[in-house]
Amino acid sequence: MGKGVVWVVAVVGVWLLTACGAQGLQVKDAWARSTPPGAEQAAVYLTIVNATEEEDALVGVSTEMAAEAALHRSVTSDSGTMGMVQVQQVVVPASGTVVLAPGGLHVMLMGLKAPLQAGQDFTLTLHFVRAGEVTVRVEVRP
């Protein structure tokens, strides 16, 4: 009987820990397209999942791969032109998800130190107001 109770407590304990671990703010599926030789710029795409009850905001990005990294958004006009604007922050709503994807929000890398080659990966650090620094591996795809 005593052994049984210990087991139940252990199992429930592990389950609680796992459940708690999945909460908070997560950055996943970070990727960039491989770049042509000599390219100075690249874009990084990723998904931010905020499992907390509080709104958060991405306010900065940094990486060793480039001289400069910034948050940008590609904007389409009614006439079909596309341009880029720098954004100061990306708000991530409470219990919300924000996707950085081609043709929209992205992390722009300027002054690439080396071409991004398919199959490689590199480190990107994201700075959030509440969650602080979150570091992810960015997968380079063809």
Binding site: P36, P37, T81, M84, Q86, P102, G103, M108
Partner: protein, 195 residues
């Protein structure tokens, strides 16, 4: 009785033929006027003249090599289109025309487009010639100073892909983000129609 049945069958046949005969294009259908001709130096060598491409479908895209998001995404799609077309790709030219001739040398353009697919042609030229092409295709271009220190400026530009049919008519255009399969379907249809 037999006569009535014949009429019904006949109507059904007409309906079936009409339904099969009408292909709905995925792209935006244009009036189909003659595509404005131009001749520009190609990074791959020689001069590319649009009017010499009769019999082929030409897909035109305007962009620049310092463009990190929209242009690589479109060229990656061009690769999927060319690969997806298989044998039919022989009758298709994907052409990338720079909107930033100042930074895009022919060498830079060649390395850039070859990264996506060796058959993508990259064109440049002097600003007067290029400007005439932009105007003819209603391509809007604006240089925007960049806020960062690592790059001088970006170029806001029309990001549609234009389709010129084998008879040299400007037939369709595609918004950014059009699935490549949709373009493959349209190109195949335009090629079949031209035969």
């Amino acid at each position: 009785m037999k006569g009535k049945m014949g009429v019904v069958v006949g109507l059904l046949l007409v309906l079936a033929l009409t339904a099969c005969g009408r292909y709905a294009y995925h792209g935006t259908v244009l009036p189909g006027e003659a595509a404005p001709d131009f001749a520009l130096p190609a990074a791959q060598g020689g001069v590319f003249r649009l009017s010499e491409q009769r019999g082929k479908v030409v897909l035109l895209f305007f962009g620049y090599t310092h463009c990190p998001d929209v242009c690589p995404t479109t060229l990656a799609e061009a690769r999927q289109v060319l690969e997806g077309l298989g044998e039919d790709a022989r009758n298709v030219r994907f052409v990338f025309i720079t909107v930033d001739p100042e930074r895009d040398t022919l060498e830079a353009l060649k390395a850039y487009t070859a990264h996506f697919h060796p058959d993508i042609l990259a064109l440049s030229g002097d600003m007067d010639h290029l400007r005439a092409v932009y105007e003819a295709y209603h391509v809007y271009i604006e240089r925007v100073p960049a806020q960062g220190a690592a790059t001088d400026y970006t170029v806001t530009h029309t990001a549609r892909v234009f389709l010129v049919d084998p008879q040299g008519r400007l037939r369709l255009s595609y918004a950014f983000g059009t699935p490549w399969q949709d373009m493959v379907d349209d190109v195949r249809h335009v090629l079949k129609e031209g035969r």
